[in-house]
């Protein structure tokens, strides 16, 4: 998408939502749901419509872990780092995910297939350790199951 197209898409979203009370988060969510991230080009469009400064919009985007400023890979793998997952080997699983994908947190594999993100609890703590692939939660994940999950991804790509 060209910067011009991004601006147009943003304008359409903003137009339909700008009168929502406290609408900035819903607008950013809609942008990220449709584009995969919140592009730099969207910021002035959103700021103008909501009568905010660009810095304010940037401030909001950067405050929340959920919003990204760069496009993610085709799939995003979230690995839970919280206590319940740690109690059953979560730390080793984190390490395994990084090694297997050859990337660190917030990075995307060179083939663009997977982005790796830390997450702090999926509410799946009774069947830990847990990961989430896009919006699909997987429980009781061993390193073997994680490998199979990643193999499946490459196979379906």
């Amino acid at each position: 998408m060209t910067p011009e197209q991004i601006k147009q898409r943003t304008a359409i979203i903003v137009e339909s939502m700008q009168f929502l009370p406290g609408g900035l988060l819903p607008i950013l969510h809609r942008l990220q749901d449709q584009l995969g991230y919140v592009p730099e080009e969207s910021v002035p469009v959103v700021a103008k419509a909501l009568n905010l400064s660009r810095a304010e919009v940037h401030g909001v985007i950067s405050f929340y872990h959920h919003f990204r400023r760069t496009p993610p890979g085709r799939r995003t793998l979230f690995v839970c780092r919280s206590e319940a997952c740690q109690s059953v080997g979560g730390r080793a699983l984190e390490q395994h995910a990084k090694e297997r994908l050859g990337i660190d947190w917030h990075e995307t594999t060179t083939d663009g297939s997977v982005t790796l993100e830390p997450i702090y609890c999926l509410g799946n703590c009774a069947c830990a350790p847990a990961v989430m692939l896009d919006e699909q939660v997987v429980g009781r994940v061993t390193s073997g199951r994680l490998d199979a999950l990643i193999d499946d991804l490459s196979a379906t790509d």
Binding site: L25, P26, Y64, H66, A84, C125, V137
Partner: protein, 512 residues
């Protein structure tokens, strides 16, 4: 051809270990056997070590099979015998669900419908006393509803345990044309999933609870702020909302009472601090989730500067039953100043993890041993972290405490949201202490110095201790830093993150 009525959970955890696959296998095997199965996807009974589980209607009640391995096609397909009957010889046959000890040992009060009904069926919701609470509330005056909640003894289930009736009374007393009801469904604590289980398993209950709160306080608009980590809860809530609107259970003329109540789901964006109520309000206003100074209290100046009742999911869903059955029915359960039921959530390294609704006063040891059955690894329990990432690590020596807010506080612990995370003897408590500080540093809203800087320095000092650098001096420094954070932080993130660290220093001295 006979038709079997079957039930399989659609909750996120059950699906995370194969409930969808088991559902597909069940349907396929029914076709093979020439039987037909009418399958309802329900919420979960909360017995996660038995999931994926299938329940069937019988004349005696619902019988269950579980856990069923989704990879074991034979195991699932033999649940129904070739004659089309239930195979009670099956190794996973559990008999009547009501007689499974961990289920029979509970008191399902607020969670009575979860796992029983189709979460999105308004007809089933109504058939199980749904909307009787709101019906009664609409026939009462506002003060009487508030008194009912106050007399029940309900205290906030989101962590701080503040009396819900007092908050409600404050909001109801404000003379403002615009007021709000906000549901805190951020559920950020590790080891907690009670809010999610309700939102996925009985969403109309939350809608009814918030509408009752709206009627009681004179608020016409509500928001449910749900964490982005719960996509399925958001989807199900939105569907239930649409149905409620279609049936005039929300909108301009709720149940033909002439009263208005509108409700909207708002998705959060992955910041733990936005579970703190004032930070949540900032976020709902479309801002960074920076904690506000109190006063003013949200009950007086909350969302968009208007009086706002902000409550946790479990607090709000307790209201329909309190109004339907009267305050006494709820107050009769529990002990001292902890009334009603607590939804204990057992997680981590535990054999039987799940959600158990029990009256306050139940012994902690019973919860961990009878319901939990010890650790998953079979090794001794070393510690249980209770009340989320800001909660202390409780050693087995303190397991004789009853579930009672004050009894916990007297031992330097807290019940919080009711989440309990079990660790076995291989847990590295120094590492757990370090994580508390690291988590606080990652999630700090940044408004005050003790938390913003203190958590970063705390992580560094713990690293030095763990590397063996001037251990004694650094231990003193760490305690000092913890005390500064406790005394000087604006909110409980910085104010309580030191508690797990201090509990490790006190109870597992040699590890930090």
């Amino acid at each position: 051809m006979t038709t079997l009525s079957a039930y399989i959970s659609l909750d996120t955890t059950s699906r995370s270990i194969g409930a969808d696959e088991v559902a597909a296998l069940l349907q396929a095997s029914a076709v093979q056997h020439g039987t037909s199965v009418s399958l309802t996807r329900t919420g979960t009974r909360g017995l996660f070590w038995l999931e994926p589980m299938i329940e069937f209607d019988t004349d005696a009640g619902r019988v269950a099979f579980g856990p069923l391995d989704p990879g074991d096609v034979r195991a699932v397909s033999t649940v129904i015998s070739p004659k089309g009957e239930l195979n009670t010889e099956h190794p996973a046959y559990l008999g009547l669900l009501d007689e499974v000890p961990e289920f029979a040992g509970q008191l399902r009060h607020t969670y009575s419908r979860v796992g029983v009904t189709d979460p999105l069926s308004l007809a089933q919701y109504r058939a199980h006393h749904g909307y009787e609470g709101l019906q009664r509330a609409l026939s009462m005056n506002s003060d009487d509803i508030v008194e009912e909640i106050a007399n029940s003894g309900l205290r906030g289930r989101g962590g701080a345990a503040f009396p819900t009736g007092i908050k409600m009374r404050t909001v109801a007393a404000q003379n403002d044309t615009q007021k709000y009801i906000v549901c805190n469904a951020d559920e950020g604590d590790s080891g907690t999933f009670a809010d999610r289980i309700i939102m996925e398993g009985d969403p109309f209950l939350l809608i009814e609870g918030m509408t009752i709160a709206g009627v009681a306080c004179g608020a016409t608009q509500g928001y449910i702020y749900v964490r982005s980590e719960y996509p399925q809860a958001i989807t199900l809530l939105n569907k239930a909302l649409a149905t409620a609107y279609e049936h005039q259970l929300l909108g301009e003329n709720v149940m033909a009472s002439g009263k208005q109540f509108d409700l909207e789901v708002r998705k959060a964006a992955g910041a733990y601090i936005c579970g703190e109520e004032t930070s949540l309000l900032e976020s709902l206003e479309g801002k960074r989730g920076l904690v506000r100074f109190k006063p003013p209290l949200p009950a007086i100046e909350g969302l968009f500067g208007k009086p706002t009742l902000i409550n946790n999911v479990v607090s709000l869903v307790s209201m329909p039953e309190i109004v339907r059955l009267g305050a006494d029915s709820y107050h009769a359960l529990g002990v001292e100043r902890s009334r009603g039921t607590l939804t204990v959530q057992l997680a981590g390294n535990v054999k039987k993890g799940g959600l158990f609704e029990v009256p306050f006063g139940t012994a902690l040891r019973d919860v961990i041993e009878q319901f939990g059955g010890g650790t998953l690894t079979g090794r001794p329990v070393k510690a249980v972290q209770i009340g989320g990432p800001l909660g202390a690590f409780v050693p087995p020596a303190h397991f004789d405490m009853p579930l009672d807010y004050e009894a916990f506080a007297a031992r330097g612990a807290m019940i919080g949201h009711g989440g309990m995370v079990v660790f076995d003897d291989t847990a590295d408590m120094g590492e757990m202490a370090r994580f508390s500080m690291e988590f606080c540093a990652i999630e700090s809203c940044g408004k005050c110095t003790p938390c913003r800087i203190g958590a970063v320095r705390g992580t560094e000092v713990i690293d030095k201790i763990r590397r063996g650098e001037e251990v004694d001096a650094h231990r003193i420094l760490l305690r000092d830093l913890c005390n500064t954070m406790v005394d000087g932080s604006l909110c409980a993130l910085g104010g309580m993150a030191p508690f797990p660290v201090l509990s490790v220093m006190d109870h597992f001295e040699e590890e930090l």
